[in-house]
Every structure is written in structure tokens, then in C-alpha cells.
Subunit: 274 residues, 2 copies
């Protein structure tokens, strides 16, 4: 099986020059086939504010009205994506920026309004607006580009099949892209990069990285309140990728991309020690 | 020789829903290999205004400071490009949005400050800022994508080879892309679409289209004041493409893309009737 690395980096990594530089160095020296998936939420929030558009988040996800869709199309598809592509090219990476609409790579449908539990315990029907839930990643066209030495750099925008773009969480896109490539017979390593070195036992202690975690461990850690907030959907995406054919999933920070020891949290299929 | 159509559409065409729809219909029904190059200046000016950034134009070209570069990256590379790609996909066109940085397709260098004659006849040294003059189009990679049934949709942003994007006139990009493909052995038809049906003898009379024009005719028409203003650099780009191997160049409007009769202005190599 041909190996491929799918790396997801959050907005915080690409929006700060020092951490971006570190990422560019680490990512460009990563050998073999690779794909980068990026966020950009902070820039979107900043541009929205400058334009007088209110950013409404529900459980960490952005409610996307028509104006906000224009903002994220500009920020994710233009500002963040194209600058990443240009910077990567200068590091010798033959980057190609993509949204889900480009070569019809990632198809989604608009999320119907749904009842959600709010932080205060009440429930509310939330219409996220122009937000897409992924239906299908075209792993064949992505694989075809990758085999030509091209490195897809994917913005968190998907395509509704009817001429419209939809805003989609970058963690989800990374997981779906990993599965799409796995379905084409690739041996996929999926790495989620964020500010911490891995999933922590103790959020205050950077050295308390949980080295290995099964889905059973994960459920237990959620029950115990050790894993909480934004880490829950991230890990759910990650375990879904594992269930759907991704060979390995690692949660780590951007400057540990090339470290081969167990510096991050490795998600494992079988129930083993957490 | 394999035929390919390179179509350039201005901002006015893609930024108005009615004319955009017409373009999508015409472009999608155009048979064979094709490339779309687009502008987006009006949207850039509008976003700049909303952000309190002054748009400074010299002889119709945008002075691009750092903030303006961010704006055009968002508008050309994101908003206009990605919406065009999504709309084209819904018309069955396998569109792929590109800037010059993507797959290193269009390399340029930053234009040095240069002395320019202003409309009032005085001269001034103008630094256009982050504006790129094209060095090279990678016709090989574009050809490679086209042969896979992909339709490149190119935003007017080029790449400086050092990690930076540069703002480049879309007419120039269309001409350079046409030449880059011609150098790969393609028989290139380059069409510039704008609001008028072609180059007019009389700007007030839509029916006064000049059917054929050689470069000698063009110089004469400029002397006579019949061709003036923005039409001059457009035609200069067009004749340059003709000199550098493009098979034919047509100036017409977007709803005449598929019309095979001489509805627009056809530029010809030999000196013949204007």
C-alpha cells in the first residue's frame, strides 16, 4: 500500500508567523505523499468584526449566514489558502490549493436545523445556515493529483453539487479526506496538529500527554471529565477516520510532525492502555 | 495540433448575476479544452471601501500596498474564483481554481517603480507595490491538467517564487497563459470578453464593430483616436499573444462565445482591412 500523510493544522498555527514558519519547515521536510488541511477561524472572525458582521458560534461551530459565507470563502479559500500555497512553494512543496468545489473534490449537503444542547443545559433548534456535512470525498482525483507530485492544500469549504459552497469544519474535512484516500488503497496517517503536544491528562501540564488511546479509553476519559470541550469532536472525527480505514491517527503539535517517537497521542484501534 | 480556448472575462461579467449566468451557459457549452481567466476589480474596490482602504488606480491599474494585496487575495483568489468554480461545476465543467502560486503555474517579479505619463500630461514615478510582471507560465502543467479533463479557472494573482503573491492584470494573464499553451504545441484561441460586442469604430454605436484588425490597423486607429483608454493595453496584450504563437485572438462579449460568425473583432497577423 502506498503511504500518504494527511496533516490538519488549525487556524492558530497558520495565522501566527512563528508557528507558521515552523509548520512550513516541518511539513516541507516530511517525506513522500502528503496533504495539508487547514483552518482559519480566527482570521474569519477578525474580518467579520471589521465588516461589522457578528460571529455567532454554537458549541464551537460557526453559524454561517450569507454574509459569513462570503467572509469564509474569502478568508479560507483566498487569504489563508493562497498564502499557504505560496509559502509552501517557496519551501519546494508543489502545493495546489483546493476547496471542495475544485475538481468536485468534496461534496456535502447543507446541514438541516437541529436540536442542540447548549452549555447552560437548555436545548435549542439551531440552523447553522451555509454549513455542509460531508457526503463524499473524491479520493480518486485527490490520489491522481498526489501521484503527479502535487500536494493538495485543502481549505475548509465544501461543495453542495448545486453551485454553492458550504462552510465545513476542518477537522471533519481532514478525517473525510483520510477516509477517501484509504478507500483508494492508500495507507493513510492522519495527524491533527494543535497548540498542545497531544491529549493531556492534565490541561495545565504539557508533560502529561496521553501516549495511546483507544475509543473505549476515550469514552472513559470523557466520563471522567479529563477529555472535554473542543477535544471531544476532534477525537470523534479522529476515531471515525480510524474506523473507516485510516491506518493511524496522531494528535500532536505542528513542530512535532517529523518526530517519530511517541511524542503525541496515538489513537489505536484495539482497547489498550490509556 | 490540439485546440484549446482561453477565455478572459472581466469583473463586470462575473460580478453581475445575469451576465454571469449567460457566461456560465456559454462557457459550459463551449466544446473541447478550455481555460477561464477572470478579473474582479469592482469587488476588490468594494471590499476595500468597506474596510476603509483607499483604492488608488494609475492608468487603470491598481496600486497594491500590503493591505490591498490581502484584499485582492481574498477577492480574486477566494470570493470570485471559488464561486466561479462552484457555479461552473454545477454546469458540468470540471473547474479547478488556480492562482499563479498553485502548482507554481505563473511566475512573476515585482514591478520596479517606473516613470509614467499621467492623464494630465505630467510624468510621475509610480510604485505599484505588490504588482507582478509575468516571467513565465508553466504551460506544461496547465496542459497536463487540461488533458485530464480539468478546466483551469485562473485568478489574476501571480507568484514571485519567494513565497509571495502578486497582483497581475487579468488581460495580461490571459495573454501569457495563451502563449504558454501555444509553446506546448496547442492551437490556442484567445477570447477577451467584455461589455461590448467588439472593438467599436464609434463607442456610441454597438453596431460599429470593427470586424478584423491587424497590428498596423491598431496603431493607426490609436493615432486617429478611435481606439483609446483601456482598450489600448487590452489590444497590446492581445497582439502580443498573436506575435508569440497564439493562433487567433477575438474581442467580443460574453454572450457571443459560441457564435462562430464574425460577431466580434478578430485580430489578424497580416496587415489587412480595418
Amino acid at each position: 500500500m502506498k503511504p500518504v500523510s494527511v496533516i490538519k493544522v488549525g487556524g492558530a498555527v497558520v495565522e501566527d508567523e512563528a508557528s507558521l514558519l515552523l509548520l512550513l519547515q516541518e511539513f516541507s521536510s516530511l517525506p513522500g505523499r502528503k496533504v495539508l488541511v487547514h483552518g482559519g477561524g480566527r482570521s474569519a472572525t477578525r474580518l467579520s468584526a471589521r465588516l461589522g458582521i457578528e460571529s455567532r458560534m454554537v458549541n464551537g461551530r460557526r453559524v454561517t449566514d450569507e454574509e459569513t459565507l462570503r467572509v469564509v470563502t474569502m478568508v479560507y479559500g483566498g487569504l489563508v489558502n493562497k498564502n499557504l500555497v505560496a509559502r509552501l512553494q517557496s519551501f519546494g512543496v508543489n502545493a495546489l490549493g483546493l476547496t471542495g468545489a475544485d475538481v468536485n473534490a468534496i461534496r456535502s449537503h447543507r446541514r438541516p436545523p437541529k436540536e442542540m444542547v447548549m452549555p447552560d443545559g437548555t436545548s435549542e433548534v439551531v440552523d447553522f445556515g451555509f454549513v455542509g456535512d460531508v457526503d463524499e470525498v473524491d479520493g480518486s482525483i485527490l490520489g491522481c493529483l498526489i501521484e503527479q507530485g502535487i500536494v493538495p492544500v485543502i481549505a475548509p469549504l465544501t461543495y453542495d453539487g448545486k453551485g454553492g459552497l458550504l462552510n465545513t469544519n476542518a477537522d471533519t474535512i481532514a478525517s473525510e479526506v483520510a477516509c477517501g484516500l484509504a478507500a483508494q488503497g492508500y495507507a493513510v496517517t492522519l495527524t491533527y496538529c494543535f497548540e498542545k503536544r497531544g491529549v493531556l491528562y492534565n490541561a495545565e501540564d504539557e508533560n502529561s500527554v496521553i501516549p495511546r488511546m483507544s475509543e473505549k479509553d476515550f469514552r472513559k476519559l470523557v466520563e471522567q471529565g479529563i477529555v472535554s470541550d473542543g477535544m471531544i469532536p476532534k477525537l470523534e472525527n479522529a476515531f471515525q477516520a480510524l474506523r473507516r480505514g485510516t491506518e493511524s491517527v496522531v494528535i500532536t503539535c505542528a513542530d512535532h510532525l517529523n518526530v517519530k517517537d511517541a511524542s503525541g497521542t496515538i489513537l489505536v484501534k484495539e482497547g489498550c492502555s490509556a
